[in-house]
Each structure stands twice: as structure tokens, then as C-alpha cells.
């Protein structure tokens, strides 16, 4: 069965030796394990069978040119003051992209460009470990993706938007983007991954992003999920931080039929700062699972996580946040909060914080709550003349704003608040 899946993969030639090795390893992993299943603790609540069942086709490289500028402009957030790397069904579109002119020490490009790939190859597959069939499948058969590299001391003038557009109407599609972001010492950039598009047929996006922040680097990473229709998404964002590096992440999921996000941090040296800011707004039959993990491998690091969700109708949310504090990681500060608001009796949430602490001099707190909207607050606002609907909308807005308001790419805040508000229109 696993071999049958592998056999369907198109043979994307990677001339570079390091990539061939990674690919062979991934193949071996997949042959042995295949996709994960719900007997595995980390996949307990996830109906993986639902998303791997369709007879997926693999988009060909010409998918990149299948959407023109006008069509692209109809999707959200396509005209920010930012650099754009646009991928359509996993393949780069030069027409829709806009990258800065080459500059010493800064490289922004697509992996389908052989020259870019050559620069990226030494880093690829070093941060993401083969820990599930999805990572393996991506490593074996990724199509294209973004590469950002800033040399020591460099700062990007504008954020980079990596726009993943899915358009699936003729056949079910399997889309495997692979991104690699490397900030060398004391360099900095902001990157926003946007997943958007529409799918009347099933589309499975299996993405892997690797981010390496070297000493004193400062990176701001945002992932926005705005896909509509039968979009399935399994994503791995794998982050490695070195001494005194600072990484902020914002994982904001406003749409998508099925989402599994994995966000992993490995703190390799002292004084790292890692922020995890998450928001998910679910309705209908949406399924969303956020798995996060922070490996505090070194002393004196700080991690802070706030994930908030609103779950309406028959939607299901899962949150699992792991914090591992290794024996040597003394003076760790690790905080985690997950807050859920259930708006209907049929909505479900499973939340599980998981702390494993092997050091003795640490400060760690965690808390998870699931409840309904504050009825007292609703009553208060109604007694001032607001309709029940307006009162609830105002409270949900404020609740979402706590996360969206922290976005460092500030231009995103207003449009996202608007998209969020749309979700609670009635």
C-alpha cells in the first residue's frame, strides 16, 4: 500500500546529490510507516483516512502559469506592500510574483529555479525530521517552494509573502510545497505564508516549512489559512533557533475544511525567545488540529504561547501543546495558554497541554479552558441597547483581536479582522 502511493509520485529530477540522499531516506521512511493513523497518540483525533482516500493527481509544473494577474487579484491579500512569491497548485508563477532585484547577501527565490535550489540544498531537510509520513511524502515529492536567505547582518526591507494558491476543479490534487527560510546571524526578515484558493474537488496540501534562525537573528513568521471549499491541509513548520535568536509565529486559521498544523521549535542555544500566537475560527463541519511542540534544549530560553479558538456549529478543534524542558535547560521560562469558546452545543474541542520537565530551575505554566461566551458580558452590552447579535459579535471580535492585533506585519490586521468578522455575521 505504501509502495503503491510512492509509485504514483511523479519523478521530479533533483540533480543535486544532497537532495537525492534526503529523498531516499524519506522514501525508506514512507515505505515502512506510510501515513499516520489514529492509533498513534499524536493523530488520535485526526481522521487521516478521510484526506488520503481520494485518487489525487500531482499538478505539473505548468500549473504555475494557469492563473493570470486579474484572476489572482480576486483572492484575498494579494496586494500588500510586500515581496511576493506566488505558487499555484505547488508551482511557482513568475508572472504573479514580485521579488527584489538581486542584492548582495539577500536571496529570495523559488526552488524550481536550479540556481536557487543549489543554494538551498545544503540546508534542506536539516531542520524538519522525518517524523511522519506527511513530512516523508513532502521530502520525497515536493514540487516547489520559497527560499529566503539573509546573510549576516542583513535586514529585509519588506515582508515576503509566500502565497500558496490552490485551484482544484477538474481533479483531486495533491500539492506539496516546501519552503526554506534561513536567517544568518544578526539578520532579520518577516515572512507571511498565505494559503488561499478554492477547491470544488478535494485538494490536499502537504506543506513543510523549515526555518533556521542563527545567533541574534530576528524572524517574524505568519501563516494564514484562508482556503475555501474541499481543502485539506497538513502543515509542518519546523523552527530551529540558535543563541539569542528571536522568532515570533502567528498561526491564523480562518478557513479550510480540514487542517492539521504542526509547529515545532527547537531551541539549540541560550537566550532564545519563541512566541506562538494562534487563532482559529471554525464553523460548519471544519476540522482543525493544532499540534505545537517546543524543545527547550538549552538554558535561559523563553517561550510563550497563546492559542485561542472559536468553534461554532458542528466544527471540531484539537489542541495539543507540548513543552519539553531538557535537563540542561535551566532557567527556562515556558508559558502556554489555550482558550476556546464554543458557540454551539454540537461544537467539539479536545485540548491537551503536555509538559515534560527534566530541569529543576524553571518557570513553566500552562492552562487550557473551554467554555461559552461570557453571558454576563452579553447581558451588560444588551442592557446598554446593543442587540444580542451585535453584543456577541463585539465580544468575538475583541477576543480575536487579542491575537490578530499582535501581527507584526501590521498591514494584515485590518483585512484579517474583517475576514474574521465575516465569520460571525449571523
Amino acid at each position: 500500500m505504501n509502495n503503491a502511493i510512492i509509485a504514483q509520485d511523479p519523478d521530479i529530477q533533483r540533480s543535486l546529490a544532497p537532495l537525492q540522499t534526503k529523498r531516499e531516506e524519506a522514501k525508506a521512511y514512507f515505505e515502512k510507516h506510510g501515513y499516520p493513523h489514529s492509533k498513534l497518540e499524536d493523530w488520535k483525533y485526526v481522521p487521516v483516512h478521510r484526506i488520503i482516500a481520494p485518487a489525487y493527481e500531482n499538478p505539473a509544473p505548468d500549473a504555475g502559469g494557469s492563473v493570470d494577474r486579474d484572476a489572482f487579484a480576486a483572492y484575498p491579500l494579494t496586494s500588500l506592500d510586500a515581496w511576493y512569491l506566488v505558487f499555484v497548485n505547488g508551482w511557482f508563477s513568475a508572472e504573479l510574483s514580485q521579488v527584489p532585484s538581486p542584492e548582495e547577501g539577500i536571496l529570495i527565490g523559488a526552488l524550481s529555479d536550479e540556481q536557487v535550489l543549489a543554494q538551498a540544498a545544503p540546508y534542506l531537510g536539516n531542520v524538519a525530521t522525518l517524523e511522519s509520513g506527511f513530512v516523508a511524502s513532502n521530502t520525497m515529492g515536493f514540487t516547489d517552494g520559497a527560499f529566503i536567505h539573509t546573510a549576516a547582518g542583513k535586514t529585509l526591507d519588506k515582508p515576503v509573502v509566500v502565497y500558496h494558491l490552490t485551484v482544484a476543479h477538474d481533479a483531486p490534487l495533491k500539492i506539496r510545497p516546501r519552503n526554506l527560510f534561513v536567517a544568518e546571524s544578526n539578520s532579520s526578515f518577516k515572512v507571511v505564508e498565505i494559503f488561499a484558493g478554492d477547491a470544488s474537488r478535494e485538494a490536499l496540501t502537504n506543506m513543510v516549512t523549515e526555518l533556521k534562525a542563527e545567533q541574534d537573528a530576528v524572524v517574524d513568521y505568519t501563516k494564514l489559512q484562508l482556503e475555501t471549499g474541499s481543502n485539506f491541509h497538513v502543515g509542518y513548520t519546523e523552527i530551529e533557533q540558535h543563541k539569542n535568536a528571536s522568532v515570533d509565529t502567528h498561526i491564523i486559521s480562518l478557513d479550510g475544511a480540514f487542517v492539521r498544523n504542526n509547529l515545532h521549535f527547537r531551541l539549540m542555544d541560550k537566550q532564545c525567545r519563541s512566541i506562538m500566537n494562534g487563532l482559529y475560527l471554525l464553523s460548519g463541519n471544519q476540522f482543525l488540529d493544532n499540534h505545537t511542540r517546543v524543545n527547550h534544549n538549552s538554558p535561559e530560553c523563553y517561550s510563550d504561547q497563546l492559542y485561542k479558538g472559536i468553534i461554532n456549529e458542528q466544527a471540531t478543534a484539537v489542541f495539543n501543546g507540548k513543552i519539553f524542558v531538557e535537563k540542561d535547560a535551566q532557567k527556562t521560562n515556558a508559558y502556554q495558554r489555550n482558550i476556546n469558546i464554543l458557540l454551539s452545543d454540537e461544537a467539539t474541542v479536545n485540548t491537551k497541554p503536555q509538559l515534560e520537565i527534566f530541569a529543576d530551575d524553571v518557570r513553566c505554566t500552562h492552562g487550557a479552558t473551554s467554555g461559552h461566551l461570557d453571558e454576563e458580558a452579553v447581558f451588560y452590552l444588551r442592557s446598554r441597547g446593543l442587540s444580542e447579535k451585535d453584543a456577541k459579535r463585539m465580544l468575538l471580535r475583541a477576543y480575536s483581536e487579542e491575537v490578530i492585533g499582535k501581527l507584526q506585519v501590521e498591514e494584515l490586521i485590518a483585512p484579517l479582522m474583517k475576514i474574521a468578522a465575516e465569520k460571525f455575521k449571523d
Partner: protein, 252 residues
């Protein structure tokens, strides 16, 4: 303006209000006093439109309408304002935030044009003076980290903004020091007019030194056991509530 007739209410099968009747006309200030547990908060909750209490008999009519049939927002739009005893904290929502919607909802109900941002700000500035509110407090999350006095002043500020016909102040004096009490009272006094009425619910006589009522009613054990003018409050202050309790025992 407001007519309460033989109002009985209970919660979880326990009768708390045992037949209250009260008539409030425009321009009047009524004080409702009584010892703890007598039903004061229950009465104000029912007037505000809380649903946890069951009205078992009687009626409440406000400007000719059946008040008990009205949703809380419709009561507000019809000109009723309740100053909460324990105003909630609402993270992420500032007073300015919701008050603009509130003011315009009320204006709409009165057939007035909505205020634009500039007009709204002007109105705010004017009313802020009344209770010495400052702008920064109004821009912060509602009641989060507010002192007791700030919370109550914010309630009176909102009252000023919404210009109600009937205001109900639920233990607005509790937990206030004398300066805050003066500010709150002066705000309320400045809003008094011949068209507006006010119900003050309080345990202590103290507030009534600053807001002089036309009528004082004593609520005890779910019933109004005594009514009078402001002198009744002084008498209560001097004799304490035990005096009422004793009288009730004798009558029972």
C-alpha cells in the same frame, strides 16, 4: 412612568419577591432601602431583564408597555438605564467602543439621526466632565483594572451619554469612598430633570445625603413594609433595620 403591581418572583422554587407595588412618576426620585437579603438586587435584576428569575404574578408597566415582555436591549432603547452593582470586565472592548453603537441604537429608537464620529466625541467630552472621567479610562478594556470608584463613575458616565428616562442605580454607593460618592452623586443630580425618574437601591442612608429622594421605601423579606419621605431614611439610619424587623415580627 413605571407601575409595579403586586410583583412576585422566585428562583429555583423559592419565592423572593412577595408582592411589590410601586408607582414612579416623571421627575421623582425613589429610594429603595432594606437589609441584606431582602430582595433589592432581585428587583433590579427583574427590571433590567435578567432571565434567571421567574415572575410568578403581578405586572410591571413602563410607559404603557409590558416591561416584562421586553428584551433587555429594548428596555434600554425605551429609555431605561441600569447602573450595575458589579459591572463586568470585558477584555478588548472599551467603553468608547460599545457606547457609540449603544448611543446610536438609542437614537434610532427615538427617531434621531445617528451621530458621526466627530459628534460622538463631542458628546463624550461634554459628559466626561460630569463625573470627571478621563479619556484614557474610556479607551481601556471595560472595567479591567478599574478601581471601584472608576467602575461606578463609568456607569454614571454611560448613563449621562444615554440620557435615560428612568435610571435604576443598584447599590451604586457600595464600596465608594466619600470623594467618589460625591462625584457620582453630583453626576446623578445634574442629570435630574422633571421628565426623568430615578430609582436608587441602597443599603445605606449615606448616598441619600447627596441625592435627596422624594420617596423612601423599605424592602424587607420581599415586600415593601414602609414608605415615606426622606425622613424615613434618617429614621432608619438612627434606629437600624432591626426596628423594621421587630415591627414585622409583631405584625406577623
Amino acid at each position: 412612568m413605571l407601575t409595579i403591581k403586586d410583583l412576585k418572583a422566585s428562583i429555583e422554587g423559592k419565592e423572593i419577591l412577595k408582592g411589590i407595588s410601586l408607582e414612579v412618576r416623571p421627575g421623582e426620585v425613589h429610594a429603595i432601602m432594606g437589609p441584606n437579603g431582602s430582595g433589592k438586587s432581585t428587583l433590579s435584576a427583574i427590571l433590567a431583564g435578567r432571565e434567571e428569575f421567574e415572575v410568578t404574578s403581578g405586572s410591571v408597566t413602563y410607559q404603557g408597555q409590558d416591561l416584562l415582555e421586553m428584551a433587555p436591549e429594548d428596555r434600554a432603547r425605551a429609555g431605561i438605564f441600569l447602573a450595575f452593582q458589579y459591572p463586568v470586565e470585558i477584555p478588548g472592548v472599551s467603553t468608547t467602543n460599545f457606547l457609540k453603537t449603544a448611543v446610536n441604537e438609542l437614537r434610532k429608537a427615538r427617531g434621531q439621526e445617528p451621530l458621526d464620529a466627530v459628534q460622538f466625541l463631542k458628546l463624550m467630552k461634554e459628559k466626561m466632565k460630569l463625573v470627571e472621567m478621563n479619556q484614557s479610562l474610556l479607551s481601556r478594556s471595560l472595567n479591567e483594572g478599574f478601581s471601584g470608584g472608576e467602575k461606578k463613575r463609568n456607569e454614571i458616565f454611560q448613563m449621562a451619554m444615554l440620557e435615560p428616562n428612568l435610571s435604576i442605580l443598584d447599590e451604586t454607593d457600595s464600596g465608594l469612598d466619600i470623594d467618589a460618592l460625591r462625584l457620582v452623586a453630583s453626576g446623578v443630580n445634574q442629570l435630574r430633570s422633571k421628565d426623568n425618574a430615578c430609582i436608587l437601591i441602597t443599603h445605606y442612608q449615606r448616598l441619600l445625603e447627596y441625592i435627596v429622594p422624594d420617596y423612601v421605601h423599605v424592602l424587607y423579606n420581599g415586600k415593601i413594609v414602609k414608605s415615606g419621605d426622606k425622613n424615613l431614611a434618617l429614621e432608619l439610619e438612627a434606629k437600624g433595620y432591626d426596628w423594621i424587623k421587630e415591627e414585622e415580627k409583631v405584625e406577623a
